[in-house]
Subunit: 514 residues, 2 copies
């Protein structure tokens, strides 16, 4: 792997001043030096935090974590407090203002964790252990107290080791390291640490709206999720939104003999097939009228990031046995997830296999999910989908039809929207904040930075973007094989150390782009 | 209801000679007179037969029935015997040749019955009782020994009361009545009585092929099933064939996240929808190339029978809540079942309802049934369906794909045909046998004869038609509300009596059409 060192010309192109390039190296070195001298203390701080059970909505546990984190911040002179809003699990807020700094960075992680089934773990999820490698490779537990050095391939095993407690410790340690070297931070720092993200963020919007006056920043940096599969740094600029509907086509009032009623009773399964086909072509393109309203064209910078290898295209497809992307067909992976997707999540009608009966089903149900891109609103999506179904000739109801409606309407659909949808959120690939951040990250790493214009998956970042109207970027640090949301979650020490260096670089910068 | 009495002109049009019209009346009167004088004896004979349990494949029970029936025939001078073929339940064969007769009628019923769950019956299914009306109307049981007359609205309740033991007794009684009046029979009569029809006729073809030399006839008359819903006599000229397939579209090797893989992994449910849509339009028309090969145009006589009210169109649709027939849309019921049907019997993929996950399913399965019409062969149907799927771009396998096949083929389908299909069978509506039979039936009844060119449902008559190459017609006698295949099967005495008269007419005729 060639080192991607920024030349002066590149620095200019990236809107980084030449002195800033020097500052990147200084910050990295400071972080490395500090970390080498304090590995045991840093790990102790991380493992102490991991020892606190943190499954929402267990308020007592979550509150204990919040108080502990407030303590970690106050010990560093960060003005910290707990934020409440109605029934929300507490969030932790902190601020560290730097004299002379003109810009503010908001750091986001969540400190709650996924539920655990301890019987599926190799060790207690809330009693962190250090292993001399991967559990899958049968690495043994290391005696932490007796260890005199810490190999970067060693790992901490505990719930939230990667998702997201250790990234928080990396951020705090980055501040320690900069101070120890007499460098930054050179930007005002705020923290917004969520306590119910793994529980679905049901009150995130409430929290943000209630405490909006604390949330002014130039950019939100979110240290959730893993780095690139290839081990490269990753910069994610957006996430798709998500919603879903249950769509039922009604046929006759009861299941009917397929001989006496085949061609006679409407076949709801065949009708559902026609309706799906009317909404989505064979290559994933959505055919619903006005569905794409509000979606901006893909910026050239985004296309370039995809062409530069935003994703490990070949392995993403080959690993689960996919011959080619459906969109296109054969579009690059990054392009396929930059457009909305209509996913048929489920189909059910009559019976298949050994249960098959020679009968015309009385109904056919589909679960249909939508992945939305920035610019689309839930309200508009729901309206155009309903309009489309009606335009195919259906009476659209929110309940079962009555006997009278069945006789009066040859085509009846029943539609229910999931209550849990949220919109996409994204920062344009050519935004100056992103150009600046990308420059810092490129300078900070010897490996290529993988810039993802839009992640296929969804996070409720639309709440953050919507309430704060502030650009955001996801800057993760943890290893991709961290078993997040699963038993035996872990973080590789080398990734933890890299994370400290990366955040030292980000917080040492003054973010004074124009 | 106007009496549909054949005039001399109509008799000519129906190819019935004027003397034949007189013979019809004579046979009816003979049957009525004989029945009135012998009701107790006729009912005793029917109830004695109904007392024998007859659920195939209980060979001992079936054989006891066969021997009993042979006895009933021999008592009438019919040359009767039991037919065997490998593992087949025994069939009963009988012949009664009439000096001077030039034509032969084959009479078919089955004497086995559907399985019973006695706990769901109001009385023992094999201990027939007479009720003074319908069980649904809370009619009481009549003391048979004490009764001195038998109301035509009374009913016998027992397994096979309608399906098909009493129709057999009606045929035998018709012969008794003709003889008592010094009339016919005027046609040679053969009987072929099946003992495993309700068990799926697994050996019917074997039996027919093994004993083909006994089966020469001019027409098979089949007394299975009920008369028209409106209480009118029914003449059915054919039945659709049936087969089905399981069709699975394979996606990625495993279920994938609908965000990270939506538009990327092929969505098997959406693909299945497209494949179904390619096979069948929204109005039930089958789009598969060459699917309709071999199907003869619908004869004008058949269209006329449909137009004349072959089916009780309004109630067939309204009763189960159907606004209009799917075929067309809005084609007459009789027309909709005269063409092949592609019935989606079941769909399954991923999950719907509360089980819905934001995931791209790895597969989608459909159960698809075909109802075939005369002229179609199973072999051809299977070939053109497979060709069609391949023409849509699919690799068609008879098993799960391997990992290598998944990566080499973007579109993979897995196809399995049911082993239980059989073809349609029908006698053309303008065949001279049918014109003659229709004439007899019209003359025999005061109610309109409902001629059904093709029944939507299926019976394995293709075996009979295929092995014997002889025209057939279904001439049922029993009430439509007989609860066939269900608990509390019954026959209404009035329908029993009418059946005796009808078969007396059919067997008194000489069938000497040209």
């Amino acid at each position: 792997m060639t080192r991607h060192r920024t030349t002066a010309a590149l620095a200019a192109a990236l809107h980084i001043t030449a002195p800033a390039v020097g500052q990147v190296d200084a910050a990295r070195d400071a972080a490395a030096t500090y970390r080498e001298a304090n590995e045991r203390a840093i790990l102790t701080e991380a493992m102490d935090l991991l020892r606190l059970p943190n499954v929402a909505p267990n308020r007592e546990d979550i509150l204990a974590n919040a108080h502990h984190i407030v303590g970690l911040m106050e010990a560093r002179g960060i003005d910290a407090r707990i934020l409440e809003a109605g029934d929300a699990m507490p969030a932790v807020y902190g601020e560290l203002f730097v004299p002379g700094a003109t810009r503010t960075v908001m750091l986001y992680v969540h400190y709650d964790g996924q539920p655990v089934q301890p019987e599926n773990w190799a060790s207690d999820p809330f009693d962190p252990v250090l292993r001399a490698g991967r559990l899958e490779d049968e690495a043994d537990i290391v005696d932490f107290d007796a260890a005199d050095n810490f190999d970067p391939d060693w790992r901490i095993y505990a719930r939230s080791a990667s998702d997201d407690k250790t990234p928080l410790i990396a951020m705090l340690t980055a501040i320690d390291a900069l101070r120890a070297a007499g460098l930054g931070p050179n930007v005002n720092i705020r923290f917004f640490l969520e306590g119910e993200e793994e529980y679905g963020s049901p009150h995130l919007r409430d929290l943000l709206e209630t405490h909006r006056d604390l949330l002014d920043a130039d950019i939100w940096l979110i240290a959730d999720g893993p780095i690139d599969q290839r081990g490269d740094p990753r910069l994610i600029l957006g996430v798709r939104g998500v919603t879903s509907m249950s769509l039922t086509i009604h046929g006759a009032e009861r299941v009917l003999h397929s001989g006496h009623y085949g061609n006679v009773a409407p076949n709801p399964a065949a009708r559902l097939a026609h309706l799906i086909t009317s909404m989505r072509d064979e290559n994933g393109r959505i055919l619903i009228e006005d569905f794409h309203d509000g979606i901006a064209p893909i910026p050239e910078a985004a296309e370039q990031f995809i062409a530069d290898g935003a994703f490990d295209e070949d392995s993403i497809l080959a690993e689960p046995g996919i011959a080619r992307t459906e969109y296109g067909p054969g579009a690059p992976y990054g392009e396929a997830v930059m457009v909305p997707a209509l996913n048929v999540l489920g189909l059910s009608s009559g019976a298949v296999g050994d249960e098959t009966r020679n009968a015309v089903p009385d109904r056919a149900e589909a679960a249909i999910g939508f992945r939305m891109v920035p610019g689309q609103t839930l309200e508009h999506l729901r309206a155009v989908v309903r309009d489309h179904i009606e335009a195919q000739g259906y009476l659209v109801l929110g309940r079962e039809p009555t006997s009278e409606e069945r006789l009066a309407h040859p085509m009846i659909a029943e539609l229910h929207w999931s209550s849990s949808g949220y919109e996409a959120a994204g920062t344009p690939a050519d935004a100056p904040e992103i150009t600046y951040l990308h420059g810092l990250m490129t300078e900070a790493s010897e490996r290529p930075v993988r810039v993802v214009p839009l992640l296929g998956g969804s996070l409720p970042l639309a709440y953050i973007a919507g309430v704060t109207q502030t650009p955001f970027a996801i800057v993760p640090i943890v290893n991709p094989d961290n078993s997040q949301h699963a038993p035996n979650e872990n973080i590789r020490l080398g990734n933890f150390w890299d994370g400290i260096e990366l955040y030292a670089v980000l917080l040492n910068a003054d973010w004074a782009f124009d």
